[in-house]
Symmetry: D2
Subunit: 423 residues, 4 copies
């Protein structure tokens, strides 16, 4: 990729973060209702901190930091970059103001433009890699920005909408079918020259047995049956840690489901809406996904199964419901897919799909030395892998080999379910 192309990408992604925030009030930028959820203005500043810290301070001569305290305030979790403001206290800060954060972004953009245009060829290859990573990093934070914002609005009893509702008709989705996939020795992991995170490497052989995978995502209607069948009151379906989480957190349904006068509603980025039973269920934890699978006498696929199956289908990001499509919520199958009965639908977009695989190193994986080793490698414990991207992911951010990962009790991302046949 040329300097010009990379600069264009850089600016495009940087502008998107700001465009996403246009509907926000100033107040929306500030709160942190739970530790996981960062204030939107923190997300905007932190992604700028990345470029300032990793590129401008190191590769741009005479660069002067925008503000001496921002390195402390906007370092997320990089021990390599020293002390930082404690994560649970991000919502304690009224200053810098939103305006100052935008000025910071502009300052970083201007100097990045200068760096991209002028940095010596000898440093270009290094810079190029770091900039690409920074772009993907910002795309990740765009998804977090949307899901964090959804949480901030969703805990609020006045249920403010981020955007106006769009009409999604509730049509019937045909029953899920189980598509058989032949077992054998496959390869998984990233290949090719395009960008990928270090945790997608190395591509390596993996053996899977014959298995069958649902041809579409589990719907709200199917999940509601589980809820109404007492699924949240029967320990038999649940992992021990899941049963503990359910009781401690008083789970009775997916996050954002609200029951009013015996009618189910769902809080969305477009406000509180009647639950659409044909749309994919979302905002369930791994524990809920696994419990639902047990109740249905099925199981979750492993990440190897998911990737093997995905490789066999003619998939392109274009076919999924991504941020670019503008729904900002999973949509029922019929709105986007063809009628081929042997196909796997909704593999990309709509919701991240929980797999039954722990987030661990691929054989031969080596954590990168230095700060970038802190990007992915240090989180390889107590997290489960999710695959496929969501309606809050940018279409050009996803790959078949992309490994997302969260703790099994987390629910605030667009997380959903696709079943595999049990035995």
């Amino acid at each position: 990729m040329s300097r010009t192309e990379l600069l264009r990408d850089f600016l495009r992604v940087r502008q998107l973060s700001e465009k996403m925030c246009e509907p926000l009030t100033i107040e929306d930028y500030v709160p942190q209702p739970i530790e996981d959820v960062s204030p939107p203005k923190w997300n905007l500043a932190h992604t700028s901190w990345y470029f300032e810290t990793v590129l401008l301070k190191t590769h741009l001569a005479d660069y002067e930091c925008f503000h001496p305290e921002y390195a402390f305030l906007y370092n997320s979790y990089y021990e390599s970059f020293g002390e930082r403001w404690k994560r649970p206290q991000r919502g304690h800060l009224s200053r810098p103001t939103v305006k100052e954060v935008y000025q910071y972004r502009q300052h970083v953009n201007t100097h990045m433009e200068h760096l991209i245009e002028t940095v010596d060829d000898s440093q270009w290859s290094t810079c190029k890699q770091l900039i690409e990573l920074g772009i993907h990093h910002e795309q990740q934070h765009q998804e977090l920005l949307l899901t964090d914002l959804k949480y901030i609005l969703g805990v609020n009893p006045v249920y403010p909408a981020y955007l106006r509702p769009v009409e999604i008709s509730e049509t019937t989705v045909p029953p899920a079918e189980y598509v058989p996939i032949s077992g054998g020795l496959y390869e998984m992991g990233h290949h090719g020259d395009a960008f990928a995170y270090d945790n997608e490497f190395p591509r390596h052989p993996v053996h899977v047995a014959d298995f069958k995978l649902q041809n579409r995502l589990v719907t709200n209607g199917e999940y509601l049956e589980f809820v109404e069948d007492g699924g949240y009151r029967n320990f038999e379906f649940w992992l021990s840690d899941g049963w503990t989480a359910l009781n401690n957190e008083h789970w009775e349904a997916p996050l954002y489901w609200v029951q009013q006068d015996s009618e189910w509603y769902e809080f969305t980025l477009r406000g509180l809406q009647k639950l659409n039973r044909s749309a994919p269920v979302c905002h369930v934890s791994y524990f809920e996904a696994d419990a639902f699978a047990h109740w249905a006498d099925q199981r979750l696929p492993t990440e190897a199964e998911w990737e093997v199956a995905a490789q066999q289908t003619q998939l392109s990001p274009k076919s999924g419901n991504f941020y670019d499509d503008g729904y900002l919520h999973p949509v029922p199958l019929h709105t986007k897919t063809p009628d081929d009965s042997s196909s796997l639908f909704q593999m990309l977009g709509d919701v991240w799909e929980w797999t039954n695989s722990a987030y661990l190193a691929y054989p031969g994986y080596c954590k990168e030395p230095g700060p970038l080793g802190e990007y992915n490698g240090k989180f390889m414990s107590n997290q489960m892998v999710l695959r496929g991207g969501s309606c809050a992911t940018s279409a050009d951010h996803i790959r078949l080999s992309y490994r997302n990962f969260f703790q099994p009790e987390k629910r605030w991302q667009f997380m959903g379910i696709r079943l595999a046949e049990r035995c």
Copy 2:
């Protein structure tokens, strides 16, 4: 007081709350860094909720609430008024926006004006009492608004200033003298017809022994000697609960003291300033006040001693450093007081003075029935009494019989120290 006079008072106090907020950015209205500290916009809305709930809904025919959720959002702790948003989560809410809160205030003001002018004479006496209480309630929240805001700005590593600094010269304050007060049977508690809280009643006899009281407040310079003498590292000076608090909270000096390059600074509403050694020390807990007294081989006065002494001095609120004076910080003695060597100085204003008395009922006190019984009476455990008002108190809010109360570990109010002679 006539309807016109009361309306004028009402509007004056209501406007002051808003004037106090003029220097704030929108972002400053939102955070709640600790449970004690409410977001400024919550303070603005809660004081309006009082008038809406206690007066408009009950005494104004056909009144329509501004918003159906506000009764839930802005009830502080009144069990009588039903369920409410949990206190530690006040900072989780971006909406209602600041603008909406100001519209709410305007809505309440307009209808209150209407009520005051039109309510039937038969209800006037009741309404008058409730309005007076509401005005004093709002004045209390004005002080909280300033101290909460100070905390919000003070935890921020960029140390934003609420107002511009004013020049306070650091002059020498003469050594404190101990003014002897004769013991005997006195009366304490409110008398007269002016407004007072129920906890100041009934006026009752109290016996105090001969005692001696410092003629001025303890200064930063004196307190610094305690700090530099290892006062925070020697358990001997401390109550057991205080020593635990010190260790858990890592106290090494009063709240807002900051040491940079072996120089002491103090965060004030006018920004980070060099510690003024002749100004009264503030933002110390009861535990620190008591430990300082032990270190100095003295003690804190009881609230009876304080009130008896105050009665003997010709004091008027005019003589103190209050919110009205505009410093918003305690000031050295010499700036305001005469040279009479037998007088007690700084009894009113500057800082609330910790007494060695628990906040308990006066003999004969009866908690009021209904919601107003929740105003003061239900807090009579585990709190200590403070007297005299502070630089964040309005001058017309204070009385000699005024009983302020906080838990002994609290520090975020303008709390200071006056010693009594020990034995």
Copy 3:
């Protein structure tokens, strides 16, 4: 008191601690179900540690400690004596065994006997004071030993009994009467030469208004009316902190009350027994005592009122139900008292009576220097005063001026209620 007399007292009290433990199994000596409750073997060792630390190590030449770690293990809270085993972890230790603890006691007794007989006259006065304090200290721990043991047995679903039941007939107790006491200037605090704790000094004048005090303790039957009237579900009766405690701890009745098949039982040191409605209620917190008083439209007396009233009655410890009487539980009034209608009954023994006074210094009180200053003085915050001793107190340990103190949420002591007339 002569050396011989003091030695006799010393040995008598030391032996009583061991006699109290005779009914225990070895297992009973070990657990610590909550932080407040120390394992019985800890109580036995700690009281020995006092004598070893304060007397033997300082005043007995060539004394060798029984074990080098015991100074660390059995220091309770004396910062002056250095580091110590953390309080919440006292129940984590299986060793020293019970047998070793008894050997430690014997070792200390033997050397104390030697010290009492041989210490130089020049040191005798100091030693005498410290030994007297140690004897009273051990008596306090005897009461704790019984109440801690009761908790250990009482949390156990098999409800083991410490001793066999004794028959207490449930007879009717006449309605409580309010005995009027004239107000005026009185004296309170210890006088005379007999032993008293430093916190009972100095005797000082105090003014009380006319008041009326119940002539007997509140009974289980009266308290049950409060419970059955929804007292634990109505916030109006409760202090704010009390309502929080009730909800956090799920209080529905006094500690040790158990409802089985709609019948009320009470766990006692003599096993689970049907609730005796004529016996004094016990194991209630200050919050419950205060709520009961509100429900009954009365109030709790202050400690000054209690002491003034007690002075006016012809009381002797003999008249109360103490440990010496062997019930180990409060007993109904009729079993012990005369028919004089103007008398105050049950002022001593049965249960410690919550007063509406915070545990604070008397005017003129000075904390003793050195370790003994840590005995009483450092606890003067967040605690309420209780008066009169209980059925677990030794008769010769109590005084009219005795100030017991606990945090207002504590319930595991024999704590009960006597009301004063409200207004």
Copy 4:
């Protein structure tokens, strides 16, 4: 297996639990210093509860429970068997006494003997399976009994020994060599008719790449280099969750390592001993094992690699250091192994070896229905697999396919490290 053989096995294992407890004092049976660690008497009772609940109550006509409360007290985590005493409070109970627990065991044994001899043939197959599971269950609790006891003794500052020390000479262990294993498609999981837990099924194909495995366990000496190189102060080696655990728990070395006068000691079941540098390191968490591997520029093997490697070696439990060998601590390599340079040593016994695999279902695994489904299946989240058994495991309890599992921060089992070559 015949009834007679099974009865013999049953009695042998039941007796071993009691033999293990012979060195205990009564006090040692009671404490629970952390939630993970159960009191020894709980372990003894719980294993009896299994037989009573699963066999006697269901399959022995007219069986009468030993005590009506034991089903409540000694159910560990089986939701299927109803309410139970809360796990963190197991150490709160002094009763049942140790003697009563032994009587309970005898009662269960007698009736189990009767059941085994008399149960109808139609039920025998079911009973046989449940009894076999019960025997293995009790063997697991024997290992827990020893490690729990070690913790109870090890937190005690007097460091009591369970058994007398035995002499283990500290000889030099030759440097570890990396044994190459060829990659390819292998099978893993249990095969054959012998007993195995459900989580070892089904045997299934797995692909592993070429890898190299250390031929022996990591020694204390090697681990000490890591400690002395600042391994516990350098975040670079640690997973993020591990670094958090290290800081929260103040880890500075493996559990039970004690530094006195700059000499390292290790608490063992035979008392505090000088650290033997040639013995395998033990009591390290997964986080420590993983950090050590990073420091050494190597990695931990996966469980598939471990099992594949183990299958290629001629291993028998006889060759390992198990409970039966009587050391109760890992021993240096030279004491037990031959000189074959291509062999893998210490694969069985000494310490459980942390693998880099999460504890998850094998492909095709189905949780058993009913209570037994709660035995293993419900714990498949947030745990890592360990392999090979330890010096506290009975030799006849281990299998190559045996999957042990613990959370990555746990240290109180005999857990150690074997490295694989990194890339």
